[in-house]
């Protein structure tokens, strides 16, 4: 159903509803509700510790919510069959085994969802690892690992992408490349949710922003609405975060 709306139709693909996650003393995610539509880049913004990673892990079924739920096309992630064909995710790019070659890492991942290994070569080219595909990951820089993580996310040609701080540690060229890739993926009609703690980066990448602080929703609006004449997005962010802290 929700794999088809490639095109201009804006559809709510990711739905987060009253999502709450408490770790002993910290309330990492606090009654959070928002929706992510297809065909645009949605920036998921908040200072460090705001709960972005926890929210993404909850959406991906890696962690169980204390309350509320997150669904993809109306279904919880864990109920998806061959999930990589629906959703591509990049959480922690360094969480890979250094002993494998890049191409081997993608091969087991493809196999786990019954995907053909034929796309691997092309994907490695696409993310700029054409030369490095046969090299062991232990020799990769952080930027190369981020690129490998993006290739892994694209493996199943998913309609939805969830990327947690994908430009962290990238050089300016890598940042620019990632930005353009995300924009072109959204232009193809895909749903792109990308987190960052950097307002300036999101201002250039996202069409829509979901801003959180201390696990709570602070804003959910198109970028154009958030920026008023005479204020920078940075100012708006600081204002939102300090209001949220009160």
């Amino acid at each position: 159903m929700w794999k088809t709306p490639f095109g201009p139709i804006v559809e709510r693909v990711i739905e987060v509803n009253g999502l709450t996650r408490r770790f002993k003393r910290t309330l990492a995610v606090d009654d959070l509700s928002f929706e992510v539509a297809s065909g645009r880049v949605t920036g998921f913004l908040g200072p460090n510790g705001a709960g972005k990673t926890t929210t993404m892990r909850l959406i991906l079924g890696l962690d169980r919510p204390t309350a509320g739920q997150a669904t993809l096309g109306g279904r919880p992630y864990r109920s998806l069959r061959r999930p990589l064909t629906h959703v591509g995710a990049l959480l922690d790019a360094t969480a890979v085994h250094g002993g494998r070659r890049a191409e081997q890492h993608l091969r087991w991942l493809a196999s786990s969802n019954g995907l053909s290994a034929r796309r691997i070569g092309g994907l490695l080219e696409l993310v700029g690892l054409g030369e490095a595909g046969g090299k062991r990951i232990s020799g990769f820089s952080l930027g190369m690992k981020q690129r490998l993580g993006i290739a892994a996310a694209l493996l199943g040609d998913p309609a939805t992408l969830l990327l947690d701080e994908p430009v962290n540690g990238l050089d300016p060229e890598g940042i620019r490349w990632t930005r353009q890739l995300l924009r072109s993926l959204a232009a193809e009609g895909r749903t792109v949710l990308v987190s960052s703690h950097l307002m300036s980066e999101m201002a250039l990448t996202a069409d829509h922003l979901v801003v959180i602080g201390r696990g709570r929703l602070l804003a959910d609006a198109p970028i154009s609405e958030l920026v008023r004449p005479g204020t920078s997005l940075e100012d708006v962010f600081m204002e939102l975060v300090s209001e949220g802290a009160r």
Partner: protein, 245 residues
């Protein structure tokens, strides 16, 4: 099947897998050859062909279970390594059913352990027959099968117990210590206790040693197989249930 394929690719694309397997097989083969040679040299010249064949099989499977600890370590690392690197999250994003991942790892490791045991047993057996040629050993006698089954099962059990402990404890060193305690230390301690026989029946090592005819029989063969097999199945079920939370 996809999950099994993926786990097989994971296992075979790590050099440590082949190093561990290579060293385990090599060391066990050398010790098997030395052990078989020593045992055969002490045989009485009147040894019947059937007894000779049986003696070779027993010597070979004593060698096979020497490879259990490296393979147990492989079982541990298969899962603790993913926890250490954080790659376990990628595994679960790709395959949300955790118990399916654990089962696939178990299938791949069990197959790997069986093939490893054959790499020790087959050359060891042929070598034994060559050394014992003067006794004209017969083809495999019927009572060799419990020995073959028991020795093979022991190496599979230790590998899968390593996997279950790695899944439960997540930490490789802790899981390895627990594995050695169960397989080596506790049976040793049990021998010195008054109720040691009961502990021996319940731990995996004595049933295995009984099946490969290294210790006196204290339980029926089917009990030995059941207890031994239980040490592979039950900890894996516990790990799967704990992982659901």
């Amino acid at each position: 099947m996809n999950t099994v394929n993926a786990e097989w690719i994971k296992l075979r694309t790590l050099r440590s897998t082949w190093w561990t397997m290579g060293i385990a097989v090599l060391v066990a083969l050398v010790l098997t050859a030395l052990g078989a040679g020593a045992v055969i040299s002490r045989w009485d010249p009147g040894q019947a062909p059937g007894q000779a064949a049986m003696g070779i099989v027993v010597a070979v499977y004593v060698g096979v279970i020497l490879a259990q600890l490296p393979l147990g370590m492989l079982g541990v690392m298969t899962i603790s390594g993913e926890h250490a690197s954080g790659m376990i999250d990628t595994t679960h994003v790709a395959t949300p059913a955790k118990s399916r991942v654990l089962l696939a790892k178990a299938v791949v490791l069990a197959g790997f352990a069986i093939i490893g045991s054959l790499f020790i047993a087959v050359p060891g057996y042929l070598y034994g027959r060559a050394v014992a040629a003067e006794f004209n050993p017969s083809a495999l006698p019927a009572d060799a099968w419990p020995v073959i089954g028991g020795g093979t099962l022991m190496i599979v059990v230790t590998t899968l117990l390593g996997l279950a402990l790695g899944a439960l404890l997540r930490n490789g060193a802790a899981a390895m210590a627990a594995l050695m305690a169960i397989v080596l230390l506790l049976p040793f301690v049990a021998r010195m206790l008054p109720w040691g026989d009961w502990a021996n029946v319940l731990l995996p090592t004595y049933p295995a040693l009984q099946l490969i005819e290294q210790v006196p029989d204290i339980m029926p063969t089917w009990v030995a197989f059941t207890v031994l097999g239980g040490w592979a199945v039950v900890p894996l079920i516990i790990a799967a249930l704990v992982g659901r939370r």
